[in-house]
Structures are given as structure tokens and as C-alpha cells.
Amino acid sequence: MIARLRIDQAPILVLLLICTLWLLIPFTMAVLWSLVDPSGTWTPDTLLPPVISLYRWEFMWNNSLLQPALLNSYTLAPTAAVVTLLLAMPTAYALGRYDFPGKETVKLIALLPLVVPTFVTAIFFSSILFQMGLAQYRFFAILLAHAVLFLPFAIRILTVSFEQVRQDHVDAARDLGASPLERFRVAYWPALKPGIMATLLIVFIQSIEEFAIAYIVGTPDFTTVPTLLYSQLGQDFNRSNAAVLALILAVPNVILMLILERFLKSANPALSSGKG
């Protein structure tokens, strides 16, 4: 019994170890680099930085474009999430609730934008914006681009959600005299909720992290956290400053991913109730 447990557990333990190292090492490095004080340079022959302080954090906060970048990113991302959700809803509803010839093809076409590299989309999208004279409304231009870019995710997730709405629940609600609003609340919402939350979170995270469009359409006067990060790495190559930005970018996303995971897990028990 004990021997078998060990045999079963060994690969799991190894896997856990690898994953931990995979995540932990870069994160630890980022944290350490962000704490390096300029008075003592961290050379490869020492394990830990010689002088540790929050100087870099204060510096970035006060002397870089971090504050407007954060404001931009955290305004853009939730707006993009909501806009994408609203744009995806009608298509997802049609794909999830109706049968029509060529439905599978439409599903596939809806996913196609995912295979085009973001930079390619970004370049041509920005040229369209310039031609239309919309490029100076940078926030809305990026918002629109993000919505277009992340629409495939949203449509895919929400289509599955709409497919999970059971017609007999809708019919039962109707038979019992429910108004359209009440029908939505009792038959649609419980099935759609996990998908809506997942869509909002995924688009939010994707939008926060998106670089190509934010860079091509946004520069020079609209900064997001990723474009700021790029300028720290690409133009100035200051590893400590970049580490600060990387953490600011990544930590909230990790937390959101954990929340997302919970939503996706909780999606099933409410719906799988045998015949119910």
C-alpha cells in the first residue's frame, strides 16, 4: 500500500517541484531585482543583492509614466472586457441557441482572428484608423482594437454558455407565466453566469497584457503598463525598473486567474443535476 502510494505520488511530486521552480524562480528574480538599491550593483558572483531597498518602487512611482500608465491600463481593460462581452453576446446567442446551415463553419471563422499574429493585426488596424482619421482618439482606438482582437475568445466561451441553457427550463418558466426578464433570470442567467465572468476576466487580463496594439496605436502619448515596460527594457534597459513594472503587471493577473479558476470550477454543479 505504502509502496504503491509512493509510486503514484512520485511523478506528481516531481511535476509539482518543476512547476514551482518554473514559477518561483522568475518571480523571485523579479522581486529581488526590483529591490536592488542603486548604491550597490548586483553582480553575478553574489547570490543576493548587496543592498536592498524600495528605492526603485518609489522612483518608478514618482518619476516615470507609471501613474498615467496604470490609470490607462485599468480604465482600458475593464471597458474592453464589457464592450467585448456586449459585442460577443448576439453572435454567441445565435451560435448557441439556433441551428442553421453552416453553423460549424461560422464557429470556425469566428475563431480565425486568433491565428493571425497580433502585430500583423495591429499594423493594419492602425493603418485603417489613420485612414479613417480616428487615430487621435487613442483610447477609443485601442479599445476598439482590443474588442476586435479578443472577440473570438468571448464568442467561443459564451457560445458554450448559451448551449448550456436548457430549452426545457426556458419553456417551463414560460409555461409558469414568467415574463422575458424573469425567464432570463431563472433559465439563462445561472447557465450564463460562469461564462460571462470568465469572458470578463479573460478579456481583462488579455487587454492589460496586450502590447502590440497599445504600442503601435498608442505611442507616443498613450502609455499602458506593457508599453512602459517595453520602454524600460528596450530604450533604457534598466532591469530593476523593468522588474518593478513586471510585478505590477503580473501580480494582479495571477490573482485574477485564480478567481477565474474558481468561476470555471463552480460552473458545473449548478447545472448538472441529473434530470433536474
Binding site: D168, L176, S179, P190, A270, L271, S272, S273, K275
Partner: protein, 347 residues
């Protein structure tokens, strides 16, 4: 209590006629079953009565009101779904209460009705559970209760027992009939199970290919089927083609059939007429002076013995209470004229 009537209902799907000119009348308080094989149009008919399908022609009346164009949410009908369709995130109490909330009834009235139904259906201990914590039979009762609290003019059942095991099915069947009587409901019940239909119904509408073949009491359907389809679908029947040869007694005629000469009661006889005869296997009696038949197979069933027999190569069935006949034996039997039914149409 309120009656339902339909006049000339027609429904087509992609050029296929699912319901073909159906007219019927269901009296207040009556329990009517729509019975037929799958694809006969019985569920389509039920969906038209509940309002989920709009007929292409014809009208439906609930009492004196024409409801053909009334949407399901505004109809005084309540449907028990085959899948139960309970809301999985609502407790049993909330499921039962759902329809009453839509009606904007007062809290007291809601509680009174829900409690009444819950105690009738013995659901009190389950009130705060979620549907997926209940057994199939309990879910079925909640589904029934959710329709009952509405006190509908007509309660509709769409194969409600098909997801239950055989033992539970009998219990719920009795419950449904008792509740229907106690609450004084007009009920329309869809099933493909003839024993369910025979046991529950005041009247059965036997449906075939979109039409009502015969609408009658269970007894009349069984003993006086009008068509070969009805005879065959309800219980086992032997159906033979024959020709009227001679009158043997007032109203009784000798019929020449491939298995020999049978005597049948005929209402409007015509010498030489080709007819289809139907008789039930259990109406045959063993008799030394009867028709001969070769036993092909014997199956002892307890209270009767099922014999698969043949005469002149025509196979048919006979059920007798007790017999020593074995495979290969020749038996002789007769059928009383009142048990031989002349059909209006063949199978």
C-alpha cells in the same frame, strides 16, 4: 374545471405533416391520454395545446375562450415535462413557488398553496433541498407539484414516467390519477406506453401518422377496436383477412379466413364482402370440436399459457389458462362470435 376542444388542427414541419386535421373534445374533469408510437404527432399536439407551437390551421379552445394565438405564459395550462425541467439552482420550495410569484400572489396565499401541494405529494421533508439532491421519483413529484400549485384549468403531461424505473412508475401513476381527481383537473397525458394509457385514462386518443385513429374508453378500444392499427397497438391482437359467406344467426355471419371458418357479429353485412377480422388471443377457448391449429411454441406465463400456433402456414397467438399442449401438438379451439370484431380498416 374547464374543457378543451380542438378543431381541424394542422402542423407541418419542413413539408412533413406532423398533425393532420385533428379535431377533439375533452370534457371538464376528464383524463385523456394521447397514445401512439413515436412520430405519431402526440407531442406536437400537446405542444400546440400548451402554446409552444402555433398550428398552421385550426383552432384550440379552453372552455369558451379561443386560445389558438395566446402565448404559453398567458394560458391557463400547466405542463409536466418529461425531463421535469426543475430549476437546478432553486430549492424545492422556490421551484414550487415560482409560478405563483409570476402571478404576483400574496406571500400568505403562496405559502398556503405550496404547503397544501407539498403535503399532498409528501414533499415536506424535501422543501429546502436542491433538485439534484432528490431521487428521480421525488423530482417527478416536485415537477407535478409545480404544475399543481398553479391550479390550472388543464394539466398537461409529456411522458412524465418515462425516466422512472418500473416500480416507481406504478406508484406515481396512481398518485397522478388520485391528484387529478382530488384537484378536479382536466388532464391531457401523452405516452407511448399502452398499459399506462389503459390504466390511467377516462378516454384514450390513439394516434397514428398525425391523425386520431380512434378516441374511446380503454375498454372500448380494447374490445371494439375500429382499425387494425388500434387493435395491434393496444394489447396483442390476431388480425385476419376473410370473406363473409353465410348468415348463421341473426346478426352473425360465417367468415371464411385462411385459418378456417370463424363466426363474427356483423352490423352491416354484405355477402361476399372482404373484411378484416380481429380477435384477442385470450378469447380463444380450447374445444374438441373447434378449429385445428399446430403449436409452434409454448410459453408458460403463470396465469395463462401463451401459444404461438399456425394453421395452413398462417401464424397467430392463443392464450389459454391451462393446457398440456406441447410444441408440435395439434390443438382445437373456438372463439365466441362476440369476440370476433370486424375492423373498418386493415392493419
Amino acid at each position: 374545471m374547464i374543457g378543451v376542444s380542438a378543431n381541424g388542427l394542422v402542423m407541418r414541419f419542413d413539408g412533413v405533416t406532423a398533425v393532420d386535421d385533428v379535431t377533439f373534445d375533452v370534457a371538464p374533469g376528464e383524463f385523456v391520454t394521447l397514445l401512439g408510437p413515436s412520430g405519431c404527432g402526440k407531442t406536437t399536439l400537446l405542444k400546440m395545446i400548451s402554446g409552444f407551437l402555433q398550428p398552421h390551421a385550426g383552432s384550440i379552445r379552453l372552455g369558451d375562450e379561443d386560445i389558438t394565438r395566446v402565448p404559453p405564459e398567458a394560458r391557463d395550462t400547466a405542463l409536466c415535462f418529461q425531463s421535469y425541467a426543475l430549476f437546478p439552482h432553486l430549492s424545492v420550495r422556490e421551484n414550487l413557488e415560482f409560478g405563483l410569484r409570476q402571478k404576483r400572489l400574496s406571500r400568505d396565499e403562496r405559502r398556503r398553496r405550496v404547503e397544501e401541494v407539498a403535503s399532498t405529494l409528501e414533499l415536506d421533508p424535501q422543501m429546502d433541498k436542491l433538485p439534484n439532491q432528490l431521487s428521480g421519483g421525488q423530482q417527478q413529484r416536485v415537477s407535478l407539484g409545480r404544475a399543481l400549485v398553479m391550479r390550472p384549468g388543464v394539466i398537461l403531461f409529456d411522458e412524465p414516467l418515462s425516466n422512472l424505473d418500473a416500480r416507481l412508475r406504478d406508484q406515481v401513476r396512481i398518485l397522478i390519477r388520485r391528484v387529478q381527481r382530488d384537484f378536479g383537473l382536466t388532464a391531457i397525458y401523452v405516452t407511448h406506453d399502452q398499459s399506462e394509457a389503459l390504466a390511467l385514462s377516462d378516454r384514450i386518443f390513439v394516434m397514428n401518422a398525425g391523425r386520431v385513429e380512434q378516441a374511446d374508453t380503454p375498454e372500448a378500444l380494447y374490445y371494439r377496436p375500429r382499425t387494425g392499427f388500434v387493435a395491434d397497438f393496444i394489447g396483442g391482437a390476431n388480425i385476419l383477412r376473410g370473406r363473409l359467406t353465410a348468415q348463421t344467426a341473426p346478426g352473425e355471419w360465417a367468415v371464411d379466413t385462411p385459418i378456417g371458418v370463424l363466426t363474427a357479429r356483423v352490423d352491416a353485412p354484405r355477402r361476399g364482402a372482404e373484411v378484416h377480422l380481429c380477435w384477442r388471443p385470450e378469447t380463444a377457448e380450447l374445444a374438441a370440436d373447434g378449429l385445428p391449429a399446430q403449436v409452434l411454441h409454448r410459453a408458460f406465463q403463470g396465469h395463462f399459457t401463451d401459444l404461438a400456433v399456425a394453421t395452413n402456414g398462417v401464424p397467430y397467438r392463443i392464450q389459454v389458462p391451462r393446457t398440456q399442449a406441447r410444441e408440435g401438438d395439434e390443438i382445437r379451439f373456438r372463439i365466441a362470435p362476440e369476440h370476433v370484431v370486424v375492423l373498418e380498416a386493415g392493419p
